[in-house]
């Protein structure tokens, strides 16, 4: 038995199919997310990566197939109950409360996480434990300076950071990240993914990302999706050297782009 086979499967997608009219966006996908995984999901634009995340999190119902979390079938469970079981996601396109500030937003999610959701009407700052956790998150994601500004006026990169801070405030056990660092400045990307990589060893992470430097530094295992189906999966080195993956997705590195420079 290989090392991977010996690990516990936390999230198991079994033969998932999603059809939109005549389009098959997800085509019999089976994917196992292991406990503590740092697993990347890559593939060409339109391969069905976000659709798969939408199926796993219950945003879309699958046409066929099952989803099992911790041994229990959650295929028909609504999204908020999946979150309560520890499955949390971020969105490719920010889904934020525009009129709230980062502090107000995090105070809401942290309160909910600490079982104080019903006290949402209480004045902000009433609970020291909630505030301490908010401060910690704001600092970690470089949001302290802007914590009192309405989210709608924040630069795009800061809104991305808030999106991830919200996810982590839910103390996930299974974290699904859909292009988390798109729009985040170069210098902050690595640090951000290191924060994710440094989550407790039993938190399982599935990452969709097109920045290959980051993907290869983060992932211990990868699945390649093409036209809605799994093309291949394996360890990063094998994926990087797979000719089919190069042909449809990776291309041939940066040399090709550099040869035209300063023309």
């Amino acid at each position: 038995m290989s090392e991977r086979e010996a690990q516990t499967t936390v999230l198991h997608a079994q033969q998932l199919v999603k059809r939109f009219g005549g389009i098959t966006a997800t085509d019999h996908v089976t994917l196992e997310l292991k406990k503590g995984a740092r697993h990347a999901l890559i593939g060409p634009n339109g391969a069905g990566k976000t659709t798969l995340i939408n199926l796993l999190t219950g945003v879309l119902p699958p046409t066929e197939g099952r989803i099992v979390l911790d041994g229990q079938d959650i295929t028909d469970l609504p999204p908020h109950l999946r979150v309560q079981r520890g499955m949390v996601r971020t969105f490719q396109i920010n889904q934020l409360f525009d009129s709230l500030s980062p502090l107000q937003t995090l105070a809401l999610t942290v309160s909910r996480q600490q079982g104080l959701g019903a006290r949402w009407w209480q004045k902000l700052g009433r609970n020291a434990q909630v505030m301490a956790r908010c401060e910690q998150l704001l600092e970690r994601f470089h949001l302290s300076e802007v914590m009192n500004q309405p989210t709608r006026v924040l630069p795009y990169g800061k809104r991305r950071l808030l999106e991830i801070a919200i996810a982590l405030s839910c103390e996930p056990r299974v974290l699904l990240l859909d292009e988390p660092v798109a729009g985040v400045p170069a210098g902050e990307r690595e640090e951000l993914l290191q924060t994710v990589a440094a989550l407790p060893a039993d938190v399982s992470v599935l990452l969709i990302e097109h920045d290959m430097d980051l993907v290869f530094s983060f992932a211990k295992y990868m699945t390649v999706l093409v036209n809605g189906a799994v093309l291949t999966e394996g360890e990063p080195e094998a994926i990087a050297n797979d000719e089919r993956v190069k042909a449809v997705y990776l291309g041939h590195g940066t040399e090709a782009t550099l040869e035209d420079g300063h023309g």
């Binding site: 990169g157 990307r189 291309g251 090709a256 300063h262």
Partner: protein, 238 residues
């Protein structure tokens, strides 16, 4: 090469808030300018101001060569598009209720770029021709936003993070295409991007913004050769 764009002491922002505090720069025909800076320094505001999507508080924006030069400062966005500005906004803003093909044909103007040549560059869009904007993935929307700006056959292309969400193989293709069209078709481009190295390789000029002002102006080759300078300008700790 002749000067295509001249910005003089530009002050602009949102409502009463002034983000750009007196930006001046010039760009020649056929040149690509990499617009860099940390988060929230005014890059997107500058792009949006050129496209006419912010409130301009002062300064001038001139587009065109010689006697054909026009002052864009007081023109609405659609007249700027007609004058030769092609804009790929950061959040794509494709027409979601139209199909891919309709998005392209609705705005196409005569010139080297047509919906067909866009499909050649992005074969994925050709496969999605009849799909509505709402049915596209994030990366496909990004390709469409770039294609829609190109079929306008602009003289100045404004690209706000055009590589975000695109597969590496498509990024290669797009960078090659931008380098080729600026070189061969004399189009100018301003690119905002979080991957400075990727765009410095296809740019000739660079401008770095901080707090709404220009803090560095020079050649792309200079910044490529001095990564420490680039890092310090972008506030990246090594």
């Amino acid at each position: 090469m002749a000067e295509l764009l001249r910005i003089e002491d530009l002050r602009a922002g949102y409502g009463e808030a002034v983000v750009l505090q007196g930006v001046s720069l010039a760009l020649e025909q056929g040149q690509t300018l990499a617009l860099l800076g940390r988060n929230g320094t005014g890059k997107t505001t500058l792009i949006n101001t050129l496209a006419g999507a912010t409130r301009q508080h002062g300064g001038r924006i001139y587009l065109g060569v010689g006697a054909q030069q026009v002052d864009l400062s007081r023109l609405p966005s659609f007249e700027r598009a007609a004058a030769g500005i092609g804009w790929v906004p950061q959040e794509r803003n494709i027409f979601k209720s139209l199909t891919v093909h309709e998005n392209l044909t609705a705005v196409a103007r005569p010139g080297p770029w047509s919906p067909q040549s866009v499909y050649q560059m992005f074969p994925r869009l050709a496969e999605r021709k009849g799909n509505l904007g709402t049915q596209l993935s994030g990366g496909e929307q990004q390709m469409l936003a770039v294609g829609r700006a190109l079929v306008l056959n602009p003289r100045l292309l404004l690209l706000d993070e055009p590589l975000e969400g695109l597969a590496p193989i498509i990024v290669e293709e797009l960078l090659r295409a931008i380098a080729r069209i600026t070189r061969e078709e004399g189009l100018s481009a301003i690119i905002v991007e979080q991957h400075p190295q990727a765009i410095l390789a296809i740019s000739q000029q660079t401008v770095v913004l901080d707090r709404g002002t220009v803090v560095h102006q020079g050649t792309a080759a200079q910044l490529q050769a001095q990564p420490e300078l680039l890092d310090s300008l972008l506030g990246v700790a090594r």
